[in-house]
Symmetry: C3
């Protein structure tokens, strides 16, 4: 009997199946320090206990993307070890902040399967939930991936394609208990721009760029216990390159977006996302954002902004797709999320 | 008077001498986070406070190899600054877990000296003990190194070669107080294989590989305050390469061994070890293990497994030594240790 | 209205102006762990809680240079985003130790402006103060930078050149409350050399060298939320090189100076400093020190030593400047500081 994990293949998934992922992880201030070393993250709510307290929180939570990466990393051995492609995200919500000392684990429910016409691969949809040590829902999201079949002769399962909303309705966004932006300190936060200053359709070039190194993306990716071979082992791909974890690009772009969106403090919804092109060491990652929508919330002083976050490896334009409707080669990421901002 | 440390030479060691090493070090969760960023470590007992509590511990201890590296690092300026080669380890035991906030220091006793026939070098054996802030023994091991003579005309000391056991007897392994694997959660731990599933002689290819970068091994090695020049200064070796600290390879291989040995949770004994060939940046490290022995323990649900852990820079075979009895060139590490596993 | 920060230009500064910098930052043991991974720091007071307690402190403070880097990093977006050169430091004092959990923020007061004769740039002097969550002064220093004008036709402001002392007088150094070196453990600290063993004029070659990697200096620089483009974006400079943050070189040299100055424990004054030549990835940084002065203090067992710390990329000599009075090309840093040492 082989002891090592060969990962699941397409025919191993069935709608309704719930996978309880290994390995639970206690996260503290060390993980935050590494997050700040890996990305130029400066959002004040995630940097200063006093700033967070001034916003009604007990102290500064861990970055929302730390929650995402830890929850996501655990799913890799069960969901994407034999994945050919990470196709999309939907219906993501951050529900409970992660406080230093919390322990996170993940569960995924298979909500869709569809064999491809080539008979060699299929698409699997999972809804992943991250839970803390009190079994409270920390965050959830749907992800779909293309997975290889083990046995090409295996029968195709009945096709189930889940109905997914293209946007998380603002009423379903969860605002952290106590959050209050009425005494928000814009000077300490780094920028004067508030909710009312942003217009739907407005695009912001975040100006800064970061040239990526192998050691950095591997350290960050390992920190989340994401062990997909392709990120670490230079012998896996024929071109000898290590593919950078898509989440690394998300965090890099989000951190760069501070310059122009310093007050888009908390990420509360993930509407969709595409890793448009692969990212490799040596690429200089830049970012731009587009304001897609705005909405009021019940929390005092808190507005919700729907943003498109685009990571590119070449700056200077807001071009996204070509005439053929496909992402241009310099586009790395197209992410659609909700953030909370002082009104 | 020169102020800098030139290190000890062979004639500076005498059997019975006890060296109290500088610098004590308080270790906390930041060191753990960095350990998880440096190595793909996923053993659940060292990842989650709740998992550790379910195994009878107050919370999750720092990884056993963190204890080893911190204790070892302190000995470098006194023991191996002028070492030509790190020849072996024996009689290693982990005695008290390291909890976040503990302060570690090290002491070494010289237990053997033997001048080599060339008159230029000699072998020194030391028994190193790591102690915490309560002066409790955290871990101990014997290491022997080949050291240069300062003065080639110095008289050879009386040869003392310590008698070292090739294996730490299972009765002398120390099982952490309270450890209890009767409620062990195999699903959260990541693999179903228990003590009874492993057979003596069984070999496991851990499949995954990690291509090593300079920045990573230097950061990890510095973290343990190991300051041997050869790891950091590219001008030391004629070939311009930085030699990777052997302990970095140990931790990398141990972390890779999760895939197939996820339940070999705690390292409690170090029977022996050889750094078979040097490791350099750019090498892709892989690992395989062999089950050498199995033994019962008194702790509820806890078995002891003796494992050979081999790190290689080329996968695909279990070949270890050539016909000449020497390690094959692709073998980096041959380590023999005891781990605790749920029965 | 553009949302991104273009930074201040020369004509945006006026004497008397106080800039309250974003983003406050809570620092804990994770930042310390990363500091120890980035630099070979071993000073015992900053490594062990017990060692610090034996010196009269409640526990081990964060390294003085962590305080400096965090305070400095916050000033970058407001002071040096359009800086052509970082010209000097003066009148630096560390006033209150930084304890894990403290939150730091920075304020700068413009104390001098002087337009250059070319009409294109000017020099701005700022006094920067780092404050903790109790609004206590953590540290302060004067820095002057050469900054571009936005509008070359803008009128030159009235020239104000602050009078700065070349050395912080020993009476104005602040010794941490309770500090007492009468029970100092030289063996655990790593070296036997005490205050009385150092002579004014003595020079010490710190022997060790570290070859610098891109990933390391970027991680360290990001950790302090210093976001100057030139450190991260390989496309900024025509030569495609990333300039290493001068503070990275300071910390590297200070850590290397352990070997020969292990007992120069606390940095309490910064008299001056010049980043003599740029440092790039691949350089091997070495360091030497010169004892410039010595003074008694009121604290029991505590002496003050004034040290010149020189970082170089080529060892073997104490040469600093050429016949033309300019720094030699291999000199990276010339720093003048006060440290506390057991008498």
């Amino acid at each position: 009997m082989t002891k090592t994990n060969a990962g699941r293949f397409f025919e191993d998934y069935a709608v309704g199946q719930v996978i309880r992922h290994a390995v639970p992880r206690t996260v503290k201030m060390g993980e935050r320090a590494l997050y700040h070393a890996a990305y130029p993250a400066r959002h004040a709510l995630y940097s200063s206990d006093q700033f967070a307290q001034n916003c009604g929180l007990p102290f500064s939570p861990l970055d929302d993307m730390i929650a995402f990466h830890v929850v996501f990393g655990k799913t890799v051995p069960d969901v994407s070890l034999n994945a050919v492609a990470n196709l999309g995200y939907a219906e993501g919500r951050w529900v409970t902040p992660v406080w230093p000392g919390d322990t996170l684990r993940s569960e995924s429910e298979v909500i869709g399967v569809k064999q491809n016409s080539n008979g060699k691969t299929g698409v699997v949809w999972v809804r992943t939930r991250g839970l803390n040590q009190h079994d409270e829902l920390v965050m959830e999201y749907v992800r779909w991936v293309m997975v290889r079949k083990r046995d090409l002769d295996a029968d195709a399962p009945e096709t189930v394609v889940p109905e997914l909303r293209s946007v998380v309705p603002v009423e379903e966004l969860v605002i952290p208990k106590g959050l209050n932006f009425t005494k928000y300190d814009f000077e300490l936060a780094g920028e004067p721009h508030r909710f009312g200053d942003y217009e739907i359709g407005e695009k912001i070039d975040h100006v800064d760029g970061v040239t990526i190194e192998e050691a950095e993306h591997m350290m960050a990716t390992r920190l989340w216990q994401n062990t997909a071979k392709v990120h670490f082992d230079a012998t896996v791909r024929p071109d000898g390159k290590r593919l950078i974890y898509g989440g690394h690009v998300i965090s890099m772009a989000r951190a760069l977006s501070f310059n122009g969106l310093a007050n888009a403090q908390m990420i509360v919804g993930l509407n969709g996302g595409a890793h448009a092109n692969p990212c490799f060491s040596g690429d200089t990652v830049r970012a731009w954002s587009e304001v897609l929508d705005k909405a009021d919330t019940d929390a005092p002083g808190v507005g919700a902004v729907r943003l498109r976050l685009v990571a590119v490896k070449e700056g200077g334009s807001f071009d996204l797709k070509g005439d053929d409707g496909k992402y241009l080669p310099h586009v790395l990421l197209d992410l659609d999320y909700w953030a909370l901002m002082p009104v």
